[in-house]
Subunit: 223 residues, 2 copies
């Protein structure tokens, strides 16, 4: 249908704008995004951008949402394995998330700091972030239920600590060694260790069962 084609075309342009905005921010800085430069690169005049986004802030918002959605999508395959092996799913999801974030430093910055004053994610853009936290909570709760972690792991504290670890690894890696290959960074290579630290902190009490940590850390820690 004609309508569909038009919509598809429009959506392609929207995506092109967003892709190009990321490029420009990578070169100029997130706060120094220039719409005119974006327009130039995709071959339109600046006013035409306003057919797709009402303002610069709207572009930040769309990118924040895109980043969050993408990082939820990345978790999807691991989410399916939660029931089988909760701690394994968490570890795999963490690794994939960190790999994606270090490969997408602009979006990581937009998601993990406030680089553009005046921009605050809208509720709609924030929705996938909430969803992501829910997936994490689900995984931690499954680990608790399986007796692999103590109940506190799935509390607000546990969730907060987990996100602290993730954002800390990404932040340190990107600021100290921005161009390290994935998994080879001075900091990303300790991501697994950081997670073991988390797991060990929330190791179940004696009698609460099976200790996943020793098993896991011995199995997976590279040297």
């Amino acid at each position: 249908m004609r309508q569909d084609r038009r919509l598809r075309r429009r959506n392609e342009t929207v995506q092109e704008i967003l892709d190009t905005a990321i490029e420009v921010m990578a070169e100029e800085g997130v706060a120094a995004l220039s719409l005119a430069e974006v327009a130039r690169r995709i071959g339109i005049r600046p006013p035409s951008l306003y057919q797709y986004f009402p303002s610069k802030i709207a572009i930040y918002d769309a990118l924040f949402e895109r980043g969050m959605r993408r990082s939820v999508e990345i978790l999807a395959p691991y989410r399916a394995t939660i029931a089988d092996d909760p701690c394994g799913a968490i570890a795999a999801g963490q690794e994939a998330t960190i790999a994606w974030m270090t490969a997408n430093p602009v979006l990581a910055q937009l998601m993990y700091w406030r680089p553009a004053p005046g921009f605050e994610p809208s509720p709609q853009a924030f929705e996938p972030a909430v969803q992501q936290l829910e997936i994490l909570r689900e995984a931690l709760q499954a680990a608790v239920d399986a007796g692999q972690l103590a109940p506190a792991a799935a509390s607000e504290e546990g969730l907060a600590l987990y996100t602290v670890l993730i954002s800390g690894v990404i932040s340190q890696q990107l600021s100290n060694e921005p161009s390290a290959p994935p998994g080879q960074g001075r900091f990303t290579r300790y991501a697994r260790t950081a997670l073991d630290m988390f797991f060990r902190y929330y190791a179940p009490e004696e009698g609460e069962t099976d200790d996943p940590i020793l098993r896991r850390s011995r199995a997976a820690t590279p040297d």
Copy 2:
């Protein structure tokens, strides 16, 4: 002496420029720092700024250095207590650092991310960062020597993990709840828990524990 006064006056202007640059960055974003705006606010014309800094990058560099120096200064009082109580000194230093960083989000961003492409800290600006790491290493090593932590705590891994915790707490706090009062934030309130996690991960092995004699002799050793 006349010379001194002139130097002092000059230095005052330098500090005023830096203070104002922080203000402007807080409003416009780190990457969107405008020198013209800085000049306007301190009541000079833009070209006059170039008597104090050769470029915008130089201002970023000076601010990075200032932030790093300041955060080393903050550690000084706790450094003196390392010999007495290494883990206590680490905890107190961590708390003070986090409080300062959350109160100085612009400098924190400059120190913990790369918000301004084209700016990379010069060796001189980076020097206090190295010093800060050395203080941390010293404290962790003291804790190891006192039998309070396992040797790995003072390794590259231990240092990396500690900085991951600090930057993670700050990053999460500033991006999710930028205006929380110190210590009351959803994330800063778990800073101490994060540190406990670290300490527990590096708990000394059985038999490696606390040797009171060794500990006392170290306490008596001048620094």
